[in-house]
């Protein structure tokens, strides 16, 4: 059995919208990530997947629940210990245009985390390390003296990856790292992430809305809807045997680039829109759009339970 490196237990993150309204961005989510695996978190915009990523890193304070990294509760660490922990956990951001300082050179961008954590004593060592990192992500030495605007989107994302790798982290959260890129470039970046993981034995939390890409890179996948984790299983299993009606609809909504397959597919078109997380439906949050909704779905929140080996679903249909 693989070692559990990250444990998220009944995590809640609410945001106060105004005096009497709260937005329930993440509501009672639990999962574990094993050492060396890639855990994919998917869902549509506003489902809380990015909030989970940020709360895990401690960028947001939690509302309730706990996040354990290697057995330590991230949110109750003292500042000093937290600083040390951040050396092990790094993040790759979605927008390669917004996440790099336009006034810093690539050299400065990549060396900043090493300077903050005082990893090396001499400037020269840092410089060497930057060159090494640039080579690892498929960029050239002379790129170090250039500014972000001189690079294409794909190259910028490589710079972001180099920065995340600078501290030799154990765990990387990648929040939609490819959604701002063109398709032919997306594949380049996904392959690079896979390679890096293979070489360094990193653990990844890969957050994305594009299920076909997530399937490519993940070992296990969690599906979110309106702040709730509704299904979690191994990547292949999720595609071959989805249980939750939302997962089924989500999978059938993704068009496949093959006209013959596309013509024969049965499509489940969900009616209606995502309800507001400020005032989520009672019971099961998906019931307002669910084609199989029953009376109980309105009254009780379905428990998140294991209905097949390593396959968790929160749905009354399977209880």
């Amino acid at each position: 059995m693989a070692k559990v490196i990250l444990e998220v237990n009944r995590l809640k993150k609410f945001f106060d919208v105004n005096r009497n309204q709260t937005l329930q961005a993440v509501n009672d989510v639990s999962f574990q990530i094993n050492e060396g695996e890639t855990f994919g978190l998917v869902g549509e915009s506003g489902c809380g997947k990015s909030t989970i990523g940020r709360t895990i890193l401690g960028l947001y304070h939690k509302t309730a629940g706990e996040v354990l990294y290697d057995g330590e509760d991230i949110h109750s660490l003292k500042e000093n210990d937290r600083f040390k922990l951040h050396k092990k956990m790094q993040m790759i951001f979605q927008d390669p245009y917004a996440s790099l300082n336009p006034r810093s050179t690539v050299q400065e961008i990549i060396s900043e985390p090493m300077e903050i954590h005082r990893l090396y004593r001499h400037k020269k060592e840092i410089k060497e390390r930057v060159y090494q990192l640039l080579a690892e992500v498929g960029l050239q030495r002379d790129h170090a003296n250039r500014y972000p605007h001189e690079f294409s989107g794909g190259q910028r994302q490589r710079i972001g990856i180099a920065r995340a790798l600078a501290l030799n982290p154990e765990f990387i959260i990648a929040d939609e790292p490819i959604s701002a890129l063109d398709v032919s470039i997306q594949a380049q970046v996904v392959n690079l992430l896979k390679e890096i993981q293979h070489e360094k034995g990193l653990t990844f939390l890969f957050i994305a809305h594009d299920l076909s890409m997530v399937k490519q890179i993940s070992d296990r996948i969690g599906v979110m809807y309106l702040g709730n984790l509704i299904e979690l299983t191994k990547s292949e299993q999720l595609y071959d045997h989805p249980y939750h009606p939302y997962t089924k609809a989500l999978l059938s909504a993704i068009p496949i680039p093959d006209p013959e397959v596309e013509e024969k597919r049965e499509r489940i078109i969900l009616q209606g829109e995502l309800p507001s997380p400020i005032n989520p439906p009672s019971g099961c949050v998906f019931r307002t759009r669910c084609p199989m909704a029953m009376l109980i779905c309105e009254q009780q929140k379905p428990p998140f339970r294991e209905i097949a080996p390593e396959h968790f679903v929160a749905c009354h249909l399977y209880s």
Binding site: S184, P257, P259, I269
Partner: protein, 334 residues
């Protein structure tokens, strides 16, 4: 079949401080009545500029239609004055944009914005306009249209706003709809709803659609014919079957191989190495040469001649040349 739209040798350039960007460099295509043509390509390939040039929406300066003509129903609309263009836009050719959040005016009600086109172009006002607006809202599937008409854009979700934008585009019953990445800003389950809507509307009204997208899955679902653009040129065009099952250009092949498929179990994605060329100084030969695994010497120097593989399928690639075929056969034998 009747050709509704023909584009001949279209060139569009933008002058900037850094020099002239040749965004569209000699584009040719046509559109039959009632069909859906998808223009596919990556960002910066000129697909949006092509559609804006058809509508004459290129800001001048810095942009300019350098050369070429656009024929709509047999008339050369590239020669039209701005006033003549205004009588076509929204009436005979409509356009919808990628971002439904910015395509609507936040200070006007949905009803006002929907009926604006009717008043402007067809002088329809009052109750006739309202009933037409309600009919359109019904067509695009907006519940409680009567109340919704009085609401403002911020009271609608992204998917609903895109439906409104579609209703606005269709209200004067145009013959051609240009949709520029209409579902890119939407979630997949909402995208599925909107694509379904396009199909129903086309079946009901017989409208022709030019769909601009980078998503090959969307193309596989709703296009009849496809044009693949790269660095300002259409490098391959054909029916959906031609391009998905008998694609010839190495770029088209690469593009199809680099997208992951939900229904298949692949080990590794095959990306196209490198990046598209700089359009300040586009290469003299084939623009894909630097990334092409089959590049030959000729590709660097001369842009390939167009090969017609069938009446529908055209490719711009030197590999189609007889001499290249011999070369390939020889290397394969070695």
């Amino acid at each position: 079949m009747e050709k509704l739209l023909e584009v001949h040798d279209l060139h569009v350039a933008f002058s900037t401080y850094g020099g002239t960007i040749k965004a569209v460099r000699g584009v040719n295509f046509y559109l039959h009545k009632g069909e859906t043509l998808a223009i596919v390509g990556e960002s910066g390939c000129g697909k949006s500029v092509t559609s804006q040039a058809i509508m004459r929406l290129i800001p001048e300066p810095p942009g300019k239609i350098v050369r070429g003509k656009v024929m709509f129903k047999g008339k050369e609309i590239t020669r039209y004055t701005e006033k003549q263009m205004r009588s076509i836009r929204g009436v005979e050719i409509s356009m919808i944009f990628q971002d439904p959040m910015t395509a609507l005016n936040p200070t006007l009600t949905i009803g006002t914005q929907l009926m604006e086109g009717l008043q402007e172009h067809q002088s329809i006002r009052g109750e006739t306009a309202t009933s037409k607006a309600l009919e359109m809202m019904h067509l695009v599937g907006i519940p409680n249209p009567k109340e919704r008409l009085k609401q403002y854009p911020h009271q609608f979700s992204g998917g609903m706003r895109q439906r409104i934008v579609i209703a606005m585009a269709l209200i004067c019953e145009p013959e051609l709809l240009i949709a520029d990445e209409p579902t890119t800003a939407l979630d997949v389950t909402i995208q599925a709803q909107i694509l379904e809507l396009f199909t129903t509307i086309q079946a009901k009204t017989g409208i022709s659609i030019i769909l601009i997208t980078h998503d090959l899955g969307v193309v596989a679902k709703i296009a009849d014919r496809i044009a693949v653009m790269y660095a300002g040129k259409i490098i391959e065009t054909g029916t959906k079957r031609d391009l998905f099952y008998n694609q010839q250009h190495p770029y088209t092949k690469g593009l199809l191989k680099s997208v992951p498929r939900l229904d298949l179990k692949e080990e590794q994605l095959s990306p196209i190495d490198g990046t598209p060329p700089d359009l300040f100084a586009p290469p003299q030969g084939c623009p894909f040469t630097a990334r092409c695994p089959y590049a030959m010497e000729v590709c660097d120097n001369v842009y390939p001649v167009t090969t017609e593989r069938s009446s529908s399928h055209r490719v711009d690639c030197w590999l189609q040349d007889k001499r290249a075929q011999q070369l390939l056969a020889r290397t394969a034998n070695q």
